[in-house]
């Protein structure tokens, strides 16, 4: 157990020093495995693990969903989504902020990435909000926070990676993300409502659109709705496996981007290259994470912890609260995906024997990741907004995201107290 804790500390040290997380976990995992079993078995285990992970047809779901998001991004859907949401909600107080949340949810539903959603929506939604006299705090807080919906609303890359790490049904994980994702979106709208109720000058009323305009604008985003319904409907109805849904989604997005005349051969190649590189980055962390997890299992850390927790008669809720605390601390210094890769193999081994549903746990972990994306000092989405809008003060964005952070924490509490919410739709999969 001591060796495992030393290993964990070295990984954190190397990662904080700037060594790529995948290489940190790989180097420490293999070296300490060799410390226990010798170099030959450690190196053999390394080659075998990497080969098995890389040449695994089940993992093709990862590049395919990334590719689906990339095609949709290239199809320049974000503006149309935003205009469509604005036509319905713009006339309300804070209407542009509501529209941003709706459009982010729509974009997230097909892009699968929080940071990509935040980056895109910052470019799309910030300029009109500022033109309409929205306060920078509300506008920037809204775009940075609404981006986090990408991690929860399926198809979600973090849920996918959780599924790979813990060998859970990816389709079930996606379905489980729907209700908490919608709940989080609604909670963000509550945050906007509260802000404009308290400070009406921060979110002035916009124009009311006629129904003919609304229907015309809705017609431009049919593709997003169609792809989402096809992918999720196929998964939910049991027609597709996750891989098949991903390929249908990627193929559908490609056709959709072509139909919008947004995809040349050059952008097609760029999309594939971007998706390949993202896949390479994630797989490197997967290699490191799996090798480190192998060492952790060999060291006996998880067994010792499980035995200790059972001896202390801790309940599942108490363990979850401790995990929340660890995630808040780690989320203050680490980016979400790295945090997940480092902790999930250990936490999953601890919580599973306590009878905690692993699909629910996946949604919980991803929600914790999302909260980490907007809480100081390392909120990645906050920095993304700052990068795109350098004239904004970092403090302004953090202050603006506070009401959204508060509602995300409320959502987390609801998820912990009512775990059935995440599993509401899952049993129907069978």
């Amino acid at each position: 157990m001591t060796l495992a804790l030393i290993g964990f500390a070295i990984v954190l040290l190397l990662a904080f020093y700037g060594v790529p997380l995948g290489f940190s976990m790989l180097a420490v995992g293999v070296t300490l495995f060799a410390w226990i079993r010798g170099w030959e078995p450690a190196l053999f285990m390394m080659a075998q693990t990497i080969y098995d992970l890389a040449a695994n047809d089940g993992l093709s779901v990862l590049p395919l969903f990334i590719l689906m998001g990339t095609f949709i991004y290239k199809a320049e859907m974000a503006e149309d989504l935003y205009d469509s949401a604005y036509s319905f909600l713009g006339h309300l107080k804070g209407g542009l902020a509501y529209a941003t949340i709706m459009a982010s949810a729509g974009f997230a539903a097909i892009s699968g990435s929080s940071i990509a959603t935040a980056a895109t929506m910052t470019r799309v939604a910030m300029p009109p909000m500022r033109r309409r006299g929205y306060a920078d705090t509300l506008a920037s807080g809204c775009v940075s926070s609404a981006g986090t919906l990408g991690a929860l609303i399926p198809p979600s890359v973090p849920l996918l990676i959780y599924g790979i790490l813990t060998q859970q049904d990816i389709g079930a994980l996606f379905i489980a993300g729907i209700v908490p994702g919608i709940l989080l979106g609604l909670m963000f709208m509550v945050a906007v409502r509260w802000t404009v109720f308290r400070y009406p000058e921060r979110g002035p009323v916009g124009d009311r659109s006629s129904w003919s305009v609304r229907i015309r604008l809705l017609g431009r985003v049919w593709g997003v709705l169609a792809i989402f319904l096809l992918v999720m409907g196929g998964l939910y109805g049991g027609f597709f496996t996750a891989t098949e849904a991903a390929s249908i989604g990627a193929g559908g997005s490609l056709l959709f981007a072509i139909s919008r005349k947004k995809l040349s051969f050059r952008t097609y190649v760029e999309s594939l290259l971007e998706a390949s590189k993202m896949t390479g980055m994630i797989f490197t962390i997967l290699f490191g994470g799996k090798l480190f997890a192998n060492f952790i299992v060999l060291s006996g850390l998880t067994n010792t912890m499980v035995t200790w927790i059972q001896a202390q008669h801790f309940t599942g809720l108490e363990v979850i609260l401790v995990i929340v605390l660890i995630y808040v601390l780690l989320g203050s210094v680490m980016e979400g995906l790295s945090m997940m890769m480092l902790t999930v193999p250990i936490f999953a081994a601890i919580v599973e024997p306590l009878g905690i549903n692993m699909i629910w746990f996946g949604v919980f972990v991803v929600l914790m990741m999302e909260i980490g994306l907007i809480h100081p000092p390392m909120g990645m989405n906050i920095f993304m907004v700052k990068t795109i809008m350098p004239e904004l003060q970092l403090r302004t964005i953090f202050v603006g995201s506070l009401p959204f952070l508060a509602t995300a924490v409320v959502t987390l509490m609801i998820l912990i107290l009512f775990p059935g919410l995440a599993l509401l739709l899952v049993p129907k999969l069978g």
Partner: protein, 184 residues
């Protein structure tokens, strides 16, 4: 992988042109492999779904072809990501170290990256040799697993070479006395 830009004490223009051409060629080959393999995965899975549901005839060995293609995507992009230093990092020290501290930090990062890439490459090459010796083939299409392991190992070695190149550039900067003095 974009051709490395000369900085500080770097090789002369003729040598860097040769290296630039070699790097550019390697880059094109890797990009080609990524694009073709990922298109193949998308196309094959898409067709497989249609064949399975509409004609009740799934494509034979599609899972094996996809498993080979995904390994090709992962390991073709690995040198590209490694050479451009795009791997996911935590880096809370970014911008907080002095010039000398940052120089040492990058040296450590490159050394560990080199060690990891080279070790992965060596082991996958050895594993490929063993798989070929043991005549390990896939179940349906009888694809030789050893050659895939060789491919993965070779591209890991290419990634190691790319890191070695970056390391040489980094140390070249150190050899420049002016740069060294200004750094301190």
């Amino acid at each position: 992988m974009s051709p490395a830009r000369p900085e500080g004490g770097l090789p002369g223009p003729e040598r860097s042109m040769d290296k630039g051409a070699a790097v550019s060629m390697a880059n094109k080959v890797l990009v080609f492999l990524c694009v073709v393999s990922l298109s193949f995965i998308m196309g094959l899975t898409f067709c497989d779904v249609f064949m399975r549901y509409w004609f009740a005839r799934p494509i034979t060995g599609s899972a094996e072809m996809i498993s080979f293609a995904i390994a090709i995507v992962v390991f073709s992009s690995f040198p590209l990501v490694t050479a451009t230093e795009q791997h996911i990092t935590v880096s809370i020290l970014h911008g907080r170290l002095g010039a000398k501290g940052a120089w040492i930090q990058r040296l450590v990062i490159l050394l560990i990256s080199l060690l990891c890439c080279a070790t992965i490459g060596r082991q996958l090459l050895l594993s490929g040799h063993m798989l070929l010796q043991d005549k390990q083939y896939t179940m349906v299409l009888h694809l030789p697993q050893g050659y895939l392991s060789y491919f993965m190992g070779t591209l890991s070695c290419v990634a190691a070479l790319a890191v070695l190149f970056l390391l040489v550039l980094h140390l070249g900067l150190c050899a420049n006395p002016g740069a060294g003095r200004s750094a301190t």
